[in-house]
Amino acid sequence: MNLPNIIESILFVHGEPMKVSRLAKILNKKEAEVEEALAILRNNLAERGLKLAQNGGEAALITVSEASGFIQGLLKEEFSGKLTRAALETLAIVVYSGPLPRPEIDFIRGVNSSFTLRNLLVSGLVEREISPKDRRTFIYKPSMDFLRFLGLSKLDDLPEYGEFRKNLEDFSRAETNNRENKENVE
């Protein structure tokens, strides 16, 4: 087992700084072993496009400074305030049908929405919270900032709110049933 590589993968996915003690627990290794592996990883990354940052018993992967100008450019372009068609559609579903989990949004749209939803989250238009029904999943709803921006004090004020909401609910219920039936058959 290549510990430095596995740590690289874990830090990559995790995104935020991670405690060495947590890494040790996940990997079922001693902290000293993890520290050792981190030193190797730091070395492995010496010539690479990512760096290992360590601070106060925490480790994280970060980008190289040479890339920061381009990353700023990417972010500026991505979060310009202009919404793509996919973003508008997803936002509309979250506003009219939320809070709801991602699989339901995907169902309604007929395509996977993870990237679009992610962008809406980062732009602060949408918020997510842990689902009270299933703690392993998130549910998505419009942010307060966004509702304020639209000038809505409550969702009922949205045009055709009741009708659309019912429409979407009926559809996702029918879809779910349909899918379950079909899967039982196969």
């Binding site: 990559f12 995104g15 972010l75 305030g81 602060g124 921006f149 809505l152």
Partner: protein, 232 residues
């Protein structure tokens, strides 16, 4: 031949049913194996309680080709028309391709979910606060939803052409049975009337069903000749 039991299983279409029948016997796709499984295929078709019509049509089109193959295997001297030959070739080719795809799908199922490679959530750790969506009005959200609702898949609509093609097998069987009660002898041509290909297949299946049930006996005196149907 009757040792092979068809599992009561829902087949989506003719190709997966046929391939299952062939592979259960560890045969390859050719006319001999198709002739061998044709009886079971037709049996299965007759046992199906209710089938969506579009599906029924595709099952019957394959049945027509199977009946040709079976007839040819029973009567080697039987001459097939160019169109008939083509429908047999077509079925074989499609089965071959379908078989290949099914085999390739096993590569996917053996790898799927075993060693997932993970991605990073987009823009993890990027914090930029609220970005005002310039010029966005609620009416635009409304319009987006309206457009989306338009794309919802409608309950399956079967093209009229297919509905036209499908005649219920039971109706045909009943019709033949009633006719046999009235007259002692009839002929296939008289029974089937002027019908399209599917109609003929259904009529033929209906006749076979009655033969199997011991209600009628059939005699064909010459190739391409009419089939005499009599009460047995």
């Amino acid at each position: 031949m009757e040792n092979y039991q068809i599992k009561i299983q829902q087949f989506e279409g003719p190709l997966d049913l046929l391939l299952d029948l062939i592979e259960e016997r560890k045969l390859s796709v050719n006319e001999i194996s198709l002739a061998e499984v044709s009886g079971q295929y037709l049996d299965y078709l007759k046992k199906l309680p209710r089938m969506p019509r579009a599906q029924a049509a595709s099952f019957l089109v394959a049945a027509a080709a199977l009946i040709l193959i079976k007839s040819k295997s029973l009567l080697p001297s039987l001459e097939l028309t160019a169109e008939e030959k083509e429908s047999i070739e077509d079925l074989k080719k499609r089965l071959e391709l379908y078989k290949k795809m099914r085999r390739l799908s096993s590569h996917i199922s053996s790898l799927y979910g075993k060693n997932i490679a993970y991605k990073r959530e987009a823009f993890t750790g990027v914090k930029i606060g609220f970005i005002e969506p310039k010029g966005l009005k609620t009416i635009a959200l409304c319009a987006a939803l309206k457009n989306l609702i338009k794309t919802f898949p409608a309950k399956e609509i079967i093209p009229e052409k297919i509905i036209e093609k499908v005649i219920k097998l039971e109706d045909k069987i009943d019709e033949l049975r009633r006719r046999m009660e009235k007259t002692i002898k009839t002929s296939f041509r008289e029974f089937a009337g002027i019908e399209d290909k599917i109609g003929l297949v259904v009529s033929f299946l209906a006749m076979l069903e009655l033969v199997k049930q011991g209600i009628v006996a059939v005699v064909q005196k010459e190739h391409f000749g009419d089939i005499e149907i009599s009460r047995s």
